[in-house]
Amino acid sequence: MGHQPFETVLAAHHAEIYRYLLRVTSRRSEADDLSQETFLRAYRAYRALPADANVRAWLFTIATNLARNHFRDDRRRRLAHAAAGAQRSEQDDGPGPEGQTLFNEARGRLACAVERLPLRQRLAFVLRKIHDLDYDAIARSLGCSVDTARAHVFQALRKIRRCLGEMPQVEMRR
């Protein structure tokens, strides 16, 4: 096993993976669970990882897969709830307080627009624009081609742009 101890991997990447999952799920409890699961899975597979592998991109792939599974199950649950006539209203502490200042407002709107993106576009957008992963890594995370990954990011930007364009252009026009 030619790589660094797992503690080092954990120390180096935990905060970022947590942030990623929080951005994607918008819920601390879910970011908490999914980031734990990401690292426990990573620990199990770490010994089999080639020594020259990009550990960071690999962790993002695991986290992305877990997030996708999570949303798939979540949707199923929600449908079941809806069928039973229940209304899901849990919207706990999101990424932060929303807009007192214009500064915060632009940020808040953007966060909101990101949250409304379809899942794959949201994942691609966050991986590319927030965490600066290259398209190869994003394609691997999403299990698609590099071109498709680019298209997801493009579509995401377009939707966000439209979404923000409907609102007064206070902060956007500077």
Binding site: R19, L40, A106, V114, I160
Partner: protein
């Protein structure tokens, strides 16, 4: 007028890429030239630039450190627990059939198991332990296997391994295994003798039972324990042939007598556990021995002397060696 209608649709993807820093240099320049003469595209470009700036704010945004810190603490607790349960194993083909060697996460040897013809973890007793997390992995275990093969080739008399005795079931079990580990290479003793060694003289059967659950055969040499008659009763289930083979490797002969092979007690050198001498089986001193089942029997003189014993001054096994 809606910008979606007025920008040039064929370059939209490149425009967005260029405004958000994702375009190749050539594309970027082309877009810049286009923007100079197309006002709607220029406008749209500026909006994407603004969006890119706002994205930078999101990029810098992080949850409070204590939130991440708490999440990390919870993760570390679970990871610690997982590591404790982790067992690394490999299965190797050997002259004894498929052999599994398992190590704890810290590298202490955890289990050795004969799997017969199946090179498959599903054949292992370890899979029944729901409290263990089994992972197949390599390099450290390879060394252990090499040492084990050296032992089987008679090139190594000790497997001096760090052991993890978590699979030991009780204090009694532990005491039996520890006493077994003290039986020297090339020697045998009896279950009853071992029972005396752990201070439970009447517990020969319990000793045999405890050895049945030896998680580390060969390493803890339970093959060196035989019946009081010398019969090779029981080994790793019903692998008596293996027991004879391991003893043969160490220079302890076995003979066929009826259905069960046995060690020829009358043709082996003997000694008391506490004594520093070894004797011929005919030594007159032996006639006065109160507990013959406690005797340790050696296959040959070299083994007895390697165990730190000197020839008995009465019977002089050094001058009158047994015919081999």
């Amino acid at each position: 007028m809606s910008p979606a209608r007025s920008i040039c649709p064929d370059i939209e993807m490149d425009l967005v890429a260029s405004a958000t820093g994702d375009a190749e240099p050539g594309t970027h320049e082309r877009i810049q030239r286009h923007l100079a003469r197309c006002a709607p595209c220029h406008d749209e470009y500026q909006r994407y630039r603004a969006l890119e700036h706002a994205t930078a704010l999101l990029r810098e945004e992080a949850p409070p450190p204590d939130v991440i810190g708490r999440a990390r603490k919870r993760l570390e607790a679970r990871l610690h627990e997982l590591r404790r349960r982790t067992v690394l194993y490999r299965i190797f083909p050997s002259p004894l059939g498929q052999v599994l060697i398992a190590l704890s996460e810290q590298g202490a040897v955890f289990a050795v198991e004969y799997l017969g013809t199946r090179a498959d973890i599903r054949a292992s007793r370890l899979t029944r332990r729901t409290d263990l997390e089994l992972m197949e992995d390599g390099a450290e275990i390879e060394t252990r296997f090499r040492e084990l093969m050296e032992y089987l080739d008679g090139k190594r008399t000790h497997l001096d391994w760090p052991l993890d005795l978590r699979l030991v079931r009780s204090e009694f079990h532990r005491a039996v295994l520890e006493a077994t580990a003290r039986i020297p290479y090339g020697a045998v003793t009896s279950y009853a003798g071992l029972a005396c060694a752990v201070g439970r003289p009447s517990a020969a059967r319990a000793v045999a039972q405890a050895l049945r659950w030896n998680p580390l055969p060969i390493v803890i040499p339970c093959h060196r324990v035989v019946g009081s008659s010398g019969a090779l009763t029981g080994y790793a289930g019903n692998r008596i042939g293996l027991k004879a083979r391991l003893l043969g490797t160490e220079g302890v002969p076995t003979v066929r007598a009826g259905r069960v092979p046995q060690v020829p007690r009358g043709r082996m050198y003997v000694g008391y556990p506490e004594s520093e001498e070894y004797c011929l089986p005919t030594c007159s001193w032996l006639e006065r021995v109160e507990h013959p089942h406690r005797l340790i029997l050696f296959g040959n003189r070299q083994r007895a002397e390697a165990a730190g014993r000197r020839p008995c001054a009465d019977c002089r096994p050094d001058l009158h060696p047994l015919a081999s």
